[in-house]
Symmetry: C2
Subunit: 222 residues, 2 copies
DNA sequence: TAGATTGTTAATCGATTAACAATC
DNA sequence: TAGATTGTTAATCGATTAACAATC
Protein backbone atom coordinates (compact mmCIF):
# COMPACT_ATOMS: atom_id res chain seq x y z
CA UNK A 1 0.00 0.00 0.00
CA UNK A 2 1.33 3.45 -0.90
CA UNK A 3 2.29 5.82 1.86
CA UNK A 4 0.45 9.11 2.27
CA UNK A 5 -2.06 8.17 -0.34
CA UNK A 6 -4.83 10.56 -1.20
CA UNK A 7 -7.93 8.78 -2.35
CA UNK A 8 -10.75 10.81 -3.78
CA UNK A 9 -14.18 10.76 -2.19
CA UNK A 10 -15.66 9.26 -5.33
CA UNK A 11 -13.15 6.40 -5.23
CA UNK A 12 -13.81 5.67 -1.57
CA UNK A 13 -17.51 5.38 -2.29
CA UNK A 14 -16.74 2.75 -4.93
CA UNK A 15 -14.34 0.69 -2.82
CA UNK A 16 -17.09 -1.15 -0.92
CA UNK A 17 -18.62 -2.16 -4.25
CA UNK A 18 -15.27 -3.45 -5.48
CA UNK A 19 -14.80 -5.35 -2.26
CA UNK A 20 -18.16 -7.04 -2.49
CA UNK A 21 -17.76 -7.95 -6.14
CA UNK A 22 -14.26 -9.30 -5.58
CA UNK A 23 -15.57 -11.40 -2.69
CA UNK A 24 -18.16 -12.84 -5.03
CA UNK A 25 -15.56 -13.57 -7.68
CA UNK A 26 -13.35 -15.21 -5.06
CA UNK A 27 -16.30 -17.36 -4.05
CA UNK A 28 -16.61 -18.46 -7.67
CA UNK A 29 -13.02 -19.62 -7.59
CA UNK A 30 -11.72 -16.82 -9.77
CA UNK A 31 -8.10 -15.97 -8.93
CA UNK A 32 -7.33 -13.33 -11.54
CA UNK A 33 -9.74 -10.74 -12.85
CA UNK A 34 -9.39 -7.94 -15.41
CA UNK A 35 -10.68 -4.40 -15.06
CA UNK A 36 -12.84 -5.25 -18.07
CA UNK A 37 -14.58 -8.11 -16.28
CA UNK A 38 -14.93 -6.22 -13.01
CA UNK A 39 -16.41 -3.34 -14.95
CA UNK A 40 -18.90 -5.62 -16.62
CA UNK A 41 -20.05 -6.94 -13.26
CA UNK A 42 -20.33 -3.51 -11.69
CA UNK A 43 -21.45 -1.29 -14.51
CA UNK A 44 -18.34 0.85 -14.14
CA UNK A 45 -15.87 1.58 -16.94
CA UNK A 46 -12.60 -0.39 -16.85
CA UNK A 47 -10.62 2.87 -17.04
CA UNK A 48 -12.34 4.13 -13.92
CA UNK A 49 -11.56 0.92 -12.09
CA UNK A 50 -7.88 0.92 -13.07
CA UNK A 51 -7.61 4.55 -12.00
CA UNK A 52 -9.21 3.78 -8.66
CA UNK A 53 -6.92 0.83 -7.92
CA UNK A 54 -3.84 2.66 -9.14
CA UNK A 55 -4.58 5.43 -6.68
CA UNK A 56 -3.56 3.27 -3.77
CA UNK A 57 -1.06 0.84 -5.21
CA UNK A 58 0.12 -1.37 -8.03
CA UNK A 59 -1.93 -4.49 -7.71
CA UNK A 60 -2.35 -5.45 -11.31
CA UNK A 61 -0.04 -7.31 -13.64
CA UNK A 62 0.13 -5.79 -17.09
CA UNK A 63 -1.20 -8.11 -19.75
CA UNK A 64 -2.70 -10.33 -17.06
CA UNK A 65 -5.10 -8.59 -14.69
CA UNK A 66 -5.56 -8.34 -10.93
CA UNK A 67 -4.96 -11.07 -8.39
CA UNK A 68 -8.29 -11.34 -6.65
CA UNK A 69 -6.99 -12.33 -3.20
CA UNK A 70 -4.31 -9.67 -3.13
CA UNK A 71 -6.66 -6.96 -4.33
CA UNK A 72 -9.28 -8.03 -1.84
CA UNK A 73 -6.81 -7.82 1.02
CA UNK A 74 -5.69 -4.37 -0.08
CA UNK A 75 -9.14 -2.93 -0.66
CA UNK A 76 -10.18 -4.36 2.69
CA UNK A 77 -7.21 -2.75 4.39
CA UNK A 78 -7.90 0.63 2.82
CA UNK A 79 -11.48 0.39 4.06
CA UNK A 80 -10.30 -0.63 7.50
CA UNK A 81 -12.25 -3.86 7.35
CA UNK A 82 -9.46 -5.65 9.24
CA UNK A 83 -9.95 -3.45 12.28
CA UNK A 84 -12.86 -5.34 13.82
CA UNK A 85 -14.78 -2.30 14.93
CA UNK A 86 -17.25 -2.77 17.73
CA UNK A 87 -20.67 -1.36 16.96
CA UNK A 88 -23.52 -0.08 19.09
CA UNK A 89 -27.00 0.60 17.77
CA UNK A 90 -28.96 3.30 19.55
CA UNK A 91 -32.73 3.15 19.11
CA UNK A 92 -34.73 0.01 18.50
CA UNK A 93 -37.57 1.30 16.36
CA UNK A 94 -38.50 -0.45 13.13
CA UNK A 95 -35.28 0.64 11.51
CA UNK A 96 -32.90 -0.08 14.38
CA UNK A 97 -34.42 -3.48 14.78
CA UNK A 98 -34.12 -4.21 11.07
CA UNK A 99 -30.50 -3.05 10.91
CA UNK A 100 -29.55 -5.17 13.91
CA UNK A 101 -30.99 -8.21 12.20
CA UNK A 102 -30.29 -7.39 8.58
CA UNK A 103 -26.80 -5.93 8.24
CA UNK A 104 -24.01 -8.44 7.89
CA UNK A 105 -21.71 -6.61 10.28
CA UNK A 106 -19.10 -9.36 10.30
CA UNK A 107 -18.75 -9.18 6.54
CA UNK A 108 -17.99 -5.47 6.95
CA UNK A 109 -15.32 -6.07 9.55
CA UNK A 110 -17.57 -5.11 12.43
CA UNK A 111 -19.10 -6.77 15.47
CA UNK A 112 -22.44 -5.68 16.81
CA UNK A 113 -21.68 -5.46 20.51
CA UNK A 114 -24.38 -3.33 22.11
CA UNK A 115 -27.93 -2.14 21.51
CA UNK A 116 -29.59 0.69 23.42
CA UNK A 117 -33.08 1.99 23.89
CA UNK A 118 -35.01 3.86 26.56
CA UNK A 119 -38.35 2.08 26.48
CA UNK A 120 -38.97 -0.34 29.37
CA UNK A 121 -40.84 -2.55 26.91
CA UNK A 122 -37.68 -2.98 24.87
CA UNK A 123 -34.79 -2.83 27.32
CA UNK A 124 -33.97 -6.34 28.47
CA UNK A 125 -35.04 -8.09 25.28
CA UNK A 126 -32.33 -9.38 23.03
CA UNK A 127 -31.49 -9.35 19.34
CA UNK A 128 -29.00 -11.81 17.91
CA UNK A 129 -28.01 -12.75 21.45
CA UNK A 130 -27.32 -9.17 22.46
CA UNK A 131 -29.33 -7.91 25.41
CA UNK A 132 -30.76 -4.44 24.81
CA UNK A 133 -29.46 -2.03 27.45
CA UNK A 134 -30.91 1.18 28.73
CA UNK A 135 -29.36 4.26 27.13
CA UNK A 136 -28.49 5.48 30.62
CA UNK A 137 -25.74 2.88 30.69
CA UNK A 138 -24.16 4.06 27.45
CA UNK A 139 -20.91 5.36 28.94
CA UNK A 140 -20.19 2.32 31.10
CA UNK A 141 -20.95 -0.18 28.35
CA UNK A 142 -19.05 1.79 25.72
CA UNK A 143 -15.94 1.63 27.87
CA UNK A 144 -16.49 -1.98 28.88
CA UNK A 145 -17.07 -3.32 25.38
CA UNK A 146 -14.71 -0.93 23.60
CA UNK A 147 -17.34 0.47 21.25
CA UNK A 148 -15.89 2.29 18.22
CA UNK A 149 -18.93 3.13 16.11
CA UNK A 150 -22.43 4.24 17.08
CA UNK A 151 -25.46 3.83 14.84
CA UNK A 152 -28.18 6.43 15.41
CA UNK A 153 -31.67 5.12 14.70
CA UNK A 154 -33.68 7.27 17.07
CA UNK A 155 -36.38 9.82 16.13
CA UNK A 156 -35.10 13.07 14.62
CA UNK A 157 -35.73 15.12 17.73
CA UNK A 158 -33.42 12.91 19.79
CA UNK A 159 -30.63 12.50 17.24
CA UNK A 160 -28.47 15.43 18.34
CA UNK A 161 -28.71 14.49 22.01
CA UNK A 162 -27.70 10.92 21.20
CA UNK A 163 -24.80 12.11 19.07
CA UNK A 164 -23.64 14.32 21.93
CA UNK A 165 -23.71 11.42 24.37
CA UNK A 166 -21.92 9.11 21.94
CA UNK A 167 -19.12 11.54 21.27
CA UNK A 168 -18.82 12.46 24.95
CA UNK A 169 -18.42 8.74 25.63
CA UNK A 170 -15.41 8.76 23.32
CA UNK A 171 -17.00 7.23 20.24
CA UNK A 172 -15.33 8.56 17.09
CA UNK A 173 -17.48 7.05 14.36
CA UNK A 174 -21.18 7.69 13.84
CA UNK A 175 -23.52 6.24 11.25
CA UNK A 176 -26.58 8.44 11.40
CA UNK A 177 -30.02 7.52 10.03
CA UNK A 178 -31.85 10.56 11.41
CA UNK A 179 -32.80 13.12 8.78
CA UNK A 180 -31.72 16.21 10.66
CA UNK A 181 -28.36 17.89 10.58
CA UNK A 182 -26.31 16.45 13.42
CA UNK A 183 -23.23 18.31 14.62
CA UNK A 184 -20.26 16.45 16.02
CA UNK A 185 -16.90 17.64 17.35
CA UNK A 186 -13.88 17.94 15.08
CA UNK A 187 -12.30 14.53 14.70
CA UNK A 188 -15.50 12.53 14.80
CA UNK A 189 -16.40 10.67 11.60
CA UNK A 190 -20.04 11.24 10.80
CA UNK A 191 -21.70 9.51 7.88
CA UNK A 192 -25.33 10.28 7.20
CA UNK A 193 -27.59 7.70 5.65
CA UNK A 194 -30.73 9.13 4.22
CA UNK A 195 -33.23 6.45 3.41
CA UNK A 196 -35.90 8.56 1.81
CA UNK A 197 -34.01 10.56 -0.79
CA UNK A 198 -33.69 7.48 -2.98
CA UNK A 199 -37.43 7.20 -3.28
CA UNK A 200 -37.66 10.88 -4.22
CA UNK A 201 -35.15 10.23 -6.99
CA UNK A 202 -37.32 7.45 -8.37
CA UNK A 203 -40.25 9.85 -8.20
CA UNK A 204 -38.29 12.54 -10.03
CA UNK A 205 -37.20 10.33 -12.92
CA UNK A 206 -40.63 8.73 -13.17
CA UNK A 207 -42.34 12.13 -13.27
CA UNK A 208 -40.07 13.28 -16.10
CA UNK A 209 -40.82 10.15 -18.03
CA UNK A 210 -44.54 10.01 -17.42
CA UNK A 211 -45.82 13.57 -17.78
CA UNK A 212 -49.21 13.80 -16.07
CA UNK A 213 -51.14 15.29 -18.99
CA UNK A 214 -54.28 13.75 -17.61
CA UNK A 215 -53.70 15.15 -14.15
CA UNK A 216 -55.59 12.14 -12.94
CA UNK A 217 -54.12 12.12 -9.47
CA UNK A 218 -55.14 14.52 -6.77
CA UNK A 219 -52.24 16.66 -5.53
CA UNK A 220 -51.24 15.59 -2.10
CA UNK A 221 -50.10 18.88 -0.66
CA UNK A 222 -50.37 22.49 -1.68
CA UNK B 1 -41.28 26.24 -13.69
CA UNK B 2 -38.93 26.60 -16.64
CA UNK B 3 -39.55 24.55 -19.75
CA UNK B 4 -37.02 22.01 -20.91
CA UNK B 5 -34.98 22.44 -17.81
CA UNK B 6 -31.85 20.43 -17.35
CA UNK B 7 -31.13 19.79 -13.72
CA UNK B 8 -27.83 18.23 -12.78
CA UNK B 9 -27.67 14.94 -10.94
CA UNK B 10 -26.02 16.64 -7.99
CA UNK B 11 -28.85 19.15 -7.76
CA UNK B 12 -31.52 16.46 -7.92
CA UNK B 13 -29.88 14.66 -5.03
CA UNK B 14 -30.13 17.83 -2.96
CA UNK B 15 -33.74 18.63 -3.79
CA UNK B 16 -35.21 16.17 -1.28
CA UNK B 17 -33.08 17.78 1.43
CA UNK B 18 -34.33 21.22 0.45
CA UNK B 19 -37.88 19.96 0.45
CA UNK B 20 -37.59 18.48 3.92
CA UNK B 21 -35.91 21.55 5.38
CA UNK B 22 -38.43 23.89 3.80
CA UNK B 23 -41.25 21.76 5.23
CA UNK B 24 -39.68 22.15 8.64
CA UNK B 25 -39.36 25.91 8.21
CA UNK B 26 -42.96 26.10 7.07
CA UNK B 27 -43.95 24.20 10.19
CA UNK B 28 -42.15 26.83 12.25
CA UNK B 29 -44.28 29.50 10.64
CA UNK B 30 -41.48 30.91 8.49
CA UNK B 31 -42.82 32.40 5.27
CA UNK B 32 -39.64 33.82 3.72
CA UNK B 33 -36.20 32.27 3.94
CA UNK B 34 -32.80 33.31 2.58
CA UNK B 35 -30.26 31.04 0.93
CA UNK B 36 -28.03 31.99 3.86
CA UNK B 37 -30.44 30.59 6.43
CA UNK B 38 -31.26 27.50 4.38
CA UNK B 39 -27.55 26.90 3.99
CA UNK B 40 -27.00 27.18 7.70
CA UNK B 41 -29.68 24.59 8.36
CA UNK B 42 -28.40 22.18 5.74
CA UNK B 43 -24.66 22.64 5.82
CA UNK B 44 -24.65 23.70 2.17
CA UNK B 45 -23.22 26.99 0.88
CA UNK B 46 -25.76 29.70 0.02
CA UNK B 47 -24.22 30.05 -3.46
CA UNK B 48 -24.86 26.37 -4.12
CA UNK B 49 -28.44 26.70 -3.01
CA UNK B 50 -29.13 29.75 -5.17
CA UNK B 51 -27.59 28.00 -8.14
CA UNK B 52 -29.73 24.93 -7.56
CA UNK B 53 -32.98 26.88 -7.31
CA UNK B 54 -32.11 29.12 -10.23
CA UNK B 55 -31.66 26.02 -12.37
CA UNK B 56 -35.38 25.42 -12.45
CA UNK B 57 -36.91 28.83 -12.02
CA UNK B 58 -36.92 32.27 -10.46
CA UNK B 59 -38.42 31.76 -7.06
CA UNK B 60 -36.50 34.28 -5.04
CA UNK B 61 -36.99 37.98 -4.62
CA UNK B 62 -33.77 39.96 -4.73
CA UNK B 63 -33.03 41.67 -1.46
CA UNK B 64 -35.71 39.58 0.24
CA UNK B 65 -35.29 35.84 -0.05
CA UNK B 66 -37.45 32.89 -1.06
CA UNK B 67 -41.13 32.44 -0.34
CA UNK B 68 -41.24 29.18 1.54
CA UNK B 69 -44.64 27.98 0.31
CA UNK B 70 -43.96 28.83 -3.32
CA UNK B 71 -40.54 27.20 -3.24
CA UNK B 72 -41.94 24.16 -1.51
CA UNK B 73 -44.60 23.74 -4.16
CA UNK B 74 -42.03 24.09 -6.93
CA UNK B 75 -39.44 21.74 -5.44
CA UNK B 76 -42.24 19.27 -4.78
CA UNK B 77 -43.39 19.50 -8.38
CA UNK B 78 -39.90 19.00 -9.74
CA UNK B 79 -39.56 15.91 -7.58
CA UNK B 80 -42.96 14.67 -8.71
CA UNK B 81 -44.24 14.57 -5.16
CA UNK B 82 -47.68 15.70 -6.36
CA UNK B 83 -48.10 12.58 -8.45
CA UNK B 84 -49.28 10.26 -5.70
CA UNK B 85 -47.34 7.25 -6.84
CA UNK B 86 -48.60 3.89 -5.72
CA UNK B 87 -45.94 1.72 -4.17
CA UNK B 88 -45.49 -2.03 -3.80
CA UNK B 89 -42.89 -3.63 -1.56
CA UNK B 90 -41.59 -7.01 -2.64
CA UNK B 91 -40.02 -9.12 0.09
CA UNK B 92 -40.95 -8.96 3.76
CA UNK B 93 -37.64 -9.78 5.42
CA UNK B 94 -36.29 -7.63 8.21
CA UNK B 95 -35.67 -4.77 5.82
CA UNK B 96 -38.92 -4.92 3.85
CA UNK B 97 -40.86 -5.08 7.08
CA UNK B 98 -38.99 -2.11 8.50
CA UNK B 99 -39.43 -0.03 5.34
CA UNK B 100 -43.15 -0.75 5.25
CA UNK B 101 -43.47 0.49 8.80
CA UNK B 102 -40.78 3.14 8.87
CA UNK B 103 -40.88 5.16 5.68
CA UNK B 104 -43.32 8.05 5.63
CA UNK B 105 -44.55 7.32 2.13
CA UNK B 106 -47.29 9.92 2.27
CA UNK B 107 -44.79 12.65 3.05
CA UNK B 108 -42.94 11.65 -0.12
CA UNK B 109 -46.03 11.81 -2.27
CA UNK B 110 -46.49 8.06 -2.30
CA UNK B 111 -49.04 5.55 -1.07
CA UNK B 112 -48.00 2.09 0.00
CA UNK B 113 -50.60 -0.01 -1.79
CA UNK B 114 -49.30 -3.58 -1.93
CA UNK B 115 -46.83 -5.88 -0.21
CA UNK B 116 -45.66 -9.19 -1.62
CA UNK B 117 -43.83 -12.23 -0.33
CA UNK B 118 -43.70 -15.91 -1.15
CA UNK B 119 -43.58 -17.45 2.32
CA UNK B 120 -46.85 -19.04 3.49
CA UNK B 121 -45.97 -17.85 6.99
CA UNK B 122 -46.04 -14.25 5.82
CA UNK B 123 -48.65 -14.09 3.05
CA UNK B 124 -52.01 -13.17 4.55
CA UNK B 125 -50.62 -11.12 7.43
CA UNK B 126 -50.95 -7.39 7.19
CA UNK B 127 -48.79 -4.32 7.74
CA UNK B 128 -50.36 -0.92 8.21
CA UNK B 129 -53.66 -2.36 7.11
CA UNK B 130 -52.27 -3.80 3.89
CA UNK B 131 -52.67 -7.54 3.47
CA UNK B 132 -49.50 -9.21 2.23
CA UNK B 133 -50.15 -10.95 -1.08
CA UNK B 134 -48.38 -13.83 -2.71
CA UNK B 135 -45.87 -12.75 -5.35
CA UNK B 136 -47.74 -14.96 -7.82
CA UNK B 137 -50.46 -12.36 -7.91
CA UNK B 138 -48.12 -9.50 -8.77
CA UNK B 139 -49.46 -8.83 -12.26
CA UNK B 140 -53.13 -8.83 -11.32
CA UNK B 141 -52.64 -6.63 -8.28
CA UNK B 142 -50.31 -4.23 -10.08
CA UNK B 143 -52.99 -3.64 -12.70
CA UNK B 144 -55.81 -3.48 -10.18
CA UNK B 145 -54.12 -1.04 -7.81
CA UNK B 146 -52.25 0.94 -10.46
CA UNK B 147 -48.81 0.35 -8.95
CA UNK B 148 -46.13 2.76 -10.23
CA UNK B 149 -43.08 1.93 -8.14
CA UNK B 150 -41.72 -1.38 -6.87
CA UNK B 151 -39.39 -1.68 -3.89
CA UNK B 152 -37.09 -4.71 -4.03
CA UNK B 153 -36.19 -6.06 -0.60
CA UNK B 154 -35.63 -9.71 -1.47
CA UNK B 155 -32.38 -11.67 -1.12
CA UNK B 156 -29.73 -10.88 -3.73
CA UNK B 157 -30.22 -14.09 -5.65
CA UNK B 158 -33.88 -13.26 -6.31
CA UNK B 159 -33.47 -9.57 -7.10
CA UNK B 160 -33.07 -9.89 -10.87
CA UNK B 161 -36.03 -12.23 -11.19
CA UNK B 162 -38.18 -9.84 -9.18
CA UNK B 163 -37.05 -6.89 -11.28
CA UNK B 164 -37.94 -8.80 -14.42
CA UNK B 165 -41.43 -9.55 -13.16
CA UNK B 166 -41.97 -5.96 -12.02
CA UNK B 167 -40.95 -4.47 -15.35
CA UNK B 168 -42.93 -7.09 -17.27
CA UNK B 169 -45.95 -6.07 -15.21
CA UNK B 170 -45.48 -2.53 -16.52
CA UNK B 171 -43.85 -0.97 -13.48
CA UNK B 172 -41.50 1.82 -14.55
CA UNK B 173 -39.90 2.79 -11.24
CA UNK B 174 -37.78 0.51 -9.07
CA UNK B 175 -36.14 1.24 -5.73
CA UNK B 176 -33.69 -1.61 -5.24
CA UNK B 177 -32.12 -2.60 -1.93
CA UNK B 178 -30.40 -5.75 -3.20
CA UNK B 179 -26.64 -5.42 -3.52
CA UNK B 180 -26.28 -7.03 -6.91
CA UNK B 181 -26.34 -5.34 -10.27
CA UNK B 182 -29.92 -5.46 -11.52
CA UNK B 183 -30.62 -4.88 -15.19
CA UNK B 184 -33.84 -3.27 -16.34
CA UNK B 185 -35.18 -2.40 -19.78
CA UNK B 186 -34.58 1.02 -21.29
CA UNK B 187 -37.12 3.47 -19.90
CA UNK B 188 -37.33 1.96 -16.44
CA UNK B 189 -36.08 4.16 -13.59
CA UNK B 190 -33.86 2.14 -11.32
CA UNK B 191 -32.43 3.63 -8.15
CA UNK B 192 -30.15 1.46 -6.06
CA UNK B 193 -29.99 1.91 -2.32
CA UNK B 194 -26.95 0.35 -0.77
CA UNK B 195 -27.25 0.17 2.97
CA UNK B 196 -23.84 -1.18 3.79
CA UNK B 197 -21.50 1.16 1.95
CA UNK B 198 -22.17 3.89 4.51
CA UNK B 199 -20.78 1.73 7.27
CA UNK B 200 -17.69 1.02 5.21
CA UNK B 201 -17.16 4.75 4.81
CA UNK B 202 -17.28 5.21 8.58
CA UNK B 203 -14.76 2.39 8.85
CA UNK B 204 -12.49 4.02 6.26
CA UNK B 205 -12.41 7.43 7.92
CA UNK B 206 -12.04 5.91 11.36
CA UNK B 207 -9.14 3.74 10.23
CA UNK B 208 -7.34 6.77 8.77
CA UNK B 209 -7.81 8.64 11.98
CA UNK B 210 -6.95 5.85 14.37
CA UNK B 211 -3.92 4.08 12.90
CA UNK B 212 -3.66 0.63 14.45
CA UNK B 213 -0.05 0.88 15.60
CA UNK B 214 -0.78 -1.67 18.27
CA UNK B 215 -2.37 -4.09 15.87
CA UNK B 216 -4.44 -5.19 18.79
CA UNK B 217 -7.31 -6.58 16.81
CA UNK B 218 -7.21 -9.89 15.04
CA UNK B 219 -7.76 -9.57 11.30
CA UNK B 220 -11.13 -10.91 10.38
CA UNK B 221 -10.40 -12.23 6.92
CA UNK B 222 -7.27 -12.96 4.96
C1' DT C 1 7.18 -12.78 -30.22
C1' DA C 2 2.30 -11.25 -30.32
C1' DG C 3 -1.65 -10.31 -27.73
C1' DA C 4 -3.45 -8.60 -23.65
C1' DT C 5 -4.02 -5.53 -20.09
C1' DT C 6 -2.25 -2.40 -16.78
C1' DG C 7 -0.83 2.34 -15.11
C1' DT C 8 -0.32 7.06 -16.39
C1' DT C 9 -0.75 11.28 -18.78
C1' DA C 10 -3.67 14.49 -21.27
C1' DA C 11 -8.28 16.03 -22.56
C1' DT C 12 -12.86 16.56 -21.38
C1' DC C 13 -16.62 17.05 -18.70
C1' DG C 14 -19.31 18.45 -14.71
C1' DA C 15 -19.86 20.54 -10.31
C1' DT C 16 -18.61 23.99 -6.90
C1' DT C 17 -16.99 28.43 -5.50
C1' DA C 18 -16.20 33.32 -6.12
C1' DA C 19 -17.50 37.66 -7.65
C1' DC C 20 -20.67 40.99 -8.77
C1' DA C 21 -24.37 43.25 -11.35
C1' DA C 22 -29.30 43.50 -10.92
C1' DT C 23 -33.02 44.77 -8.17
C1' DC C 24 -36.22 44.37 -4.40
C1' DT D 1 -32.06 55.85 -0.77
C1' DA D 2 -29.25 52.23 1.49
C1' DG D 3 -28.97 47.57 2.73
C1' DA D 4 -29.90 43.02 1.55
C1' DT D 5 -30.09 39.20 -1.24
C1' DT D 6 -30.90 37.06 -5.55
C1' DG D 7 -29.42 35.25 -10.21
C1' DT D 8 -25.69 34.88 -13.40
C1' DT D 9 -21.22 34.82 -15.26
C1' DA D 10 -16.39 33.58 -14.76
C1' DA D 11 -12.85 30.94 -12.33
C1' DT D 12 -11.60 26.97 -9.99
C1' DC D 13 -11.69 22.55 -8.63
C1' DG D 14 -12.45 17.61 -9.00
C1' DA D 15 -13.82 13.54 -11.40
C1' DT D 16 -14.31 10.88 -15.63
C1' DT D 17 -12.95 9.51 -20.16
C1' DA D 18 -9.66 8.78 -23.83
C1' DA D 19 -5.35 7.53 -25.48
C1' DC D 20 -1.28 5.13 -25.30
C1' DA D 21 3.26 3.73 -23.61
C1' DA D 22 4.94 0.14 -20.63
C1' DT D 23 5.29 -4.59 -19.86
C1' DC D 24 3.68 -9.08 -18.58
Amino acid sequence: MKDNIVISKATIDRLPLYFRTLKQAEGEGITIISSEELGRRLGITPEQIRKDFASFGDFGKKGVGYFVKELLRNVGEILGLHRNWNIAIVGVGHLGWALANYINFEGLGCNLRAIFDISPDIVGRSIKGIVIDHFDHLEAITAERNIHIGVITVPNNRAQAVADRLTAAGIKGIWNFATVKVRVPEGTCLVNEDLSTGLSSVSYYLARQMPDEKNENVPFFG
